[in-house]
């Protein structure tokens, strides 16, 4: 008898009773509900469909003059050596240099004008006031060519950031602090040795201090070296104003094999160029050297009001939200339907360690939601980019890292949200309560935020789970461009990882509360 009853007992190996089998059980419970699998499909389709609607409905033209002369399409935006969008507009006075050489100059003064009218109105030199943008630049620049977006290295005096050695638009080293004035002029020097360019500065032209060096691979034998002046859009009282800078240079010394005369050019300063400039560039000789007047910037391109805020990721925001609603419903039902049907008692009889059940459910729903978010984003990004481009909108070029950020970010937003909703469902045990709470906490802050204005919106995207939408923030920003990087201008207040941490904090809090209640209450 004993032998028979023992043989009836199924053989349970300790290994199979482990966490893996709990996980497997939850996965089977999930995948065998046809409605949920259909819901996942709905989530992906809804995400792609809404991204399509948003991208397709976005037409932004460019307006010139007083805003009445609008045409579709966007002006040409140069692309820098790393594939990023750049501004490349300046006044240049240069000579070709073959082989190694050194150019030295004294920047004697830097002054400028700021337009009184905002950036979307055609500027006029007659309505200006004296003043300088913080990143107004005057100095020496070496480049293989003046095509916009070419690689370069430059050493310059700036209005508010001291002497700087910059190259290839995004890289920057600080030199001597302080502004240029008649009483304290600045000396700058640029040396080419092979592919390596070195920048120096000096207060007296005698004792030199090296700021930095850069290797520009593939530099041709003959390059342009010379003087440049540029002056970016200055932002104050809420809008941008074009500016113009004038730099006076003296004591020019050029050592090396130079050919041809000095040649003055305005690069990227015409009406057709995207970067807003003030006036025409000019150059004249002075008693001791040259005076250059220029407008524009040599820096990464940020939104600046003229390019729009379109990225393929920005068209995803709505679709992500819609897909999230479907996933919230599924995540809540994943636990509440067990309570409704009484299956939870069977589950806890089979696996008395309730925390493991919750963990297994969280892993299953989190992994599924991550995959759905990533798939939907990966499908929507190329679609959105294609539609925006064919609508004539400017789309900031997305680096591979940005695409990974958005795809993985959408997956993580979905995963963290569904796990939190699963925890809410565990606490509330009712689908209606869990779904409503889930939508109110995780979707509504964004809905309400988009209908409010000003500082409330910024705080919503800092403190509520909506902070995690910052994973979609791939608009370029740069310390080298003074711009109000505000929410109203398309920039999220938190970096992506911080936004995800805010959401993760909500998820962890919900999971902890669910874990405590699960252990304390009867099922």
């Amino acid at each position: 008898m004993t032998a028979t009853s023992a043989s009836l007992r199924p053989p349970v190996s300790p290994k199979r009773a482990g966490f893996q089998s709990v996980l497997r059980a939850e996965w089977v419970k999930f995948r065998t509900v046809r409605g949920w699998i259909a819901g996942l499909g709905v989530a992906v389709l809804a995400c792609v469909l809404f991204s399509y609607l948003v991208a397709n409905g976005t037409h932004s033209g460019t307006c010139t003059g007083t805003g009445t002369n609008c045409k579709s399409g966007h002006p040409f935006v140069p692309t820098g050596p790393d594939g990023q969008a750049v501004a490349d507009s300046y006044q240049y006075l240069a000579r070709p240099l073959t082989g190694n050489g050194t150019i030295t100059v004294q920047v004697a003064s830097l002054s400028g004008l700021i337009s009184s009218s905002p950036v979307n109105v055609a500027p006029s030199l007659s309505s200006t006031r004296p003043g300088l943008a913080g990143w107004a630049k005057a100095g020496l620049l070496l480049t293989p060519g003046t095509r916009q977006g070419s690689p370069y290295a430059a050493v310059m005096a700036t209005a508010a950031h001291g002497i700087r050695f910059q190259y290839d638009y995004a890289s920057d080293r600080a030199g001597l602090p302080g502004a240029v004035s008649a009483t304290s002029p600045r000396w700058v020097r640029l040396t080419r040795r092979g592919d390596t360019i070195t920048g120096y500065d000096s207060t007296n032209g005698a004792s030199w201090h090296k700021i930095g060096a850069v290797r520009l691979p593939g530099l041709p034998a003959t390059v342009d070296v010379g003087l440049f002046v540029t002056s970016p859009v200055s932002f104050h009282d809420g809008t941008g104003h074009q500016t113009q800078a004038t730099g006076a240079f003296s004591h020019i010394a050029l050592a090396g094999k130079v050919s041809g005369p000095w040649h003055s050019r305005s690069i990227g300063m015409s009406q057709a160029d995207f970067y807003p400039t003030l006036g025409a560039g000019s150059m004249h000789r002075s008693a001791s050297g040259f005076v250059l007047t220029g407008s524009g910037d040599i820096a990464p391109a940020v939104v600046q009001g003229v390019l729009g805020t379109n990225t393929a990721a920005s068209t995803l925001l709505l679709g992500l939200t819609v897909g999230l609603i479907a996933l919230i419903v599924i995540a809540a039902m994943f636990i509440t339907s067990e309570y409704r049907r009484g299956l939870i008692r069977t589950t806890f009889t089979a696996i008395p360690r309730r925390g493991r059940v919750l963990a297994a459910k969280a892993i299953v729903i989190g992994a599924v939601a991550f995959a759905i978010g990533a798939i939907a984003a990966a499908a929507s990004i190329p679609l959105g980019e294609h539609l925006l481009t064919s609508n004539g909108d400017y789309v900031f070029p997305a680096s591979a890292a940005a695409v990974v950020q958005v795809v993985a970010g959408c997956g993580l937003v979905n995963a963290l949200t569904t796990i939190a909703v699963l925890a809410l469902g565990t606490m509330l045990r009712r689908s209606a309560g869990a779904i409503t709470a889930g939508i109110v906490v995780f979707v509504l802050p964004y809905v309400i935020g988009s209908s409010l204005s000003g500082s409330i919106e910024t705080w919503l995207f800092r403190l509520t789970p909506a902070a995690a939408f910052s994973v979609l923030g791939v608009l370029p920003r740069s310390a080298l461009v003074d711009y109000p990087y505000t929410f109203g201008n398309g920039y999220y207040p938190l970096p992506p990882w911080a936004g995800l941490l805010v959401l993760a904090a909500y998820t962890v809090a919900a999971l902890a509360a669910a874990r405590v209640l699960l252990a304390r209450r009867d099922a």
Binding site: G57, T58, L318, V322, V329, S431, I435, I439
Partner: protein
């Protein structure tokens, strides 16, 4: 009909969730309004264009979700528990049952809506003048003596009732709590999001036909010319949504097995 009304009233009244949801709707509505009012500061000289009454009624945006859940639960939980079969056995004229539920949901929403809207207006009246949105700054005081504000207040209560009826109809058609809640909230909150994301004229059309954006046009008291839809016309659009959903619900209720 009276018996049916009384039966539905008893069912709804004796659920603990009903009282909690009504309380939740009032507290959430007023709470959100108070939070928004606390964050509202109109700096002098930054231009007008604000609508004090609409700001004071912001809480309705969120409170309607709770009302919608209440309405969904009124029918979907009967399907969830199988109670619907007892109900329909006792009252075979199904449309009467649906009508009785609609009347009860509307009555409860009316009570909660009046409290919530009154609370919002009082909060707005007390705080907005100090925030630079009072009579001293050229704005009307939030008061029901001011006829557009009275219209916005009464309209907001009607809005909540219509949202309840819309949700009841959707839930009767779907018959599942979770899916119904998801569907109703998606129907309410997605079109405004879509409208934010696209440009005119599509945006304007969406705002004219979507239940939430059209219905909430009733809250506008200033700058009426620039609203996508006139206040009462907007509420009529929402009413059309509610009627259509109840008609569909009635049709399905008659034709399907319970």
């Amino acid at each position: 009909m009276t018996d049916s009304l009384y039966a539905e009233w008893t069912k709804l009244r004796t659920l603990t969730s009903t009282a909690w949801l009504l309380l939740g709707a009032v507290v959430l509505t007023i709470g959100i309004t108070v939070a928004v009012l606390a964050a509202t500061h109109q700096s002098p000289g930054s231009g007008g264009g604000q609508d004090p009454t609409k700001i004071a009624l912001t809480g309705i945006d969120l409170g309607q979700a709770v009302i919608a859940v209440l309405a969904v639960l009124a029918i979907s939980e009967e399907y969830g528990t199988g109670m619907i079969r007892t109900t329909l056995a006792a009252m075979p004229r199904r449309l009467i049952t649906l009508g009785a539920k609609a009347v009860n949901v509307a009555a409860l929403t009316l009570a909660a809506g009046v409290l919530a809207v009154a609370g919002c207006l009082i909060a707005g009246r007390l705080t907005l003048p100090a925030d630079g949105l009072g009579p001293a700054h050229g704005y009307a005081l939030v008061s029901i003596a001011h006829s557009p504000t009275l219209r916005a207040a009464a309209g907001s209560v009607i809005y909540l009732i219509l949202i309840g009826l819309l949700a009841l109809g959707v839930a009767t058609a779907i018959r599942d709590t979770a899916v119904s809640v998801g569907a109703v909230l998606a129907l309410l909150y997605l079109p405004p999001l879509l409208a934010q994301a696209v440009s005119d004229p599509l945006r304007r059309h969406i705002e004219q036909v979507a239940p939430m954006t059209a219905g909430l046009a009733i809250q506008a008291t200033t700058n009426l010319r620039n609203q996508p839809i006139a206040p009462w016309a907007g509420l009529a659009v929402l009413a059309a949504w509610a009627i259509a959903s109840l008609l569909l619900a009635g049709l399905l209720l008659r034709r399907r097995d319970a």
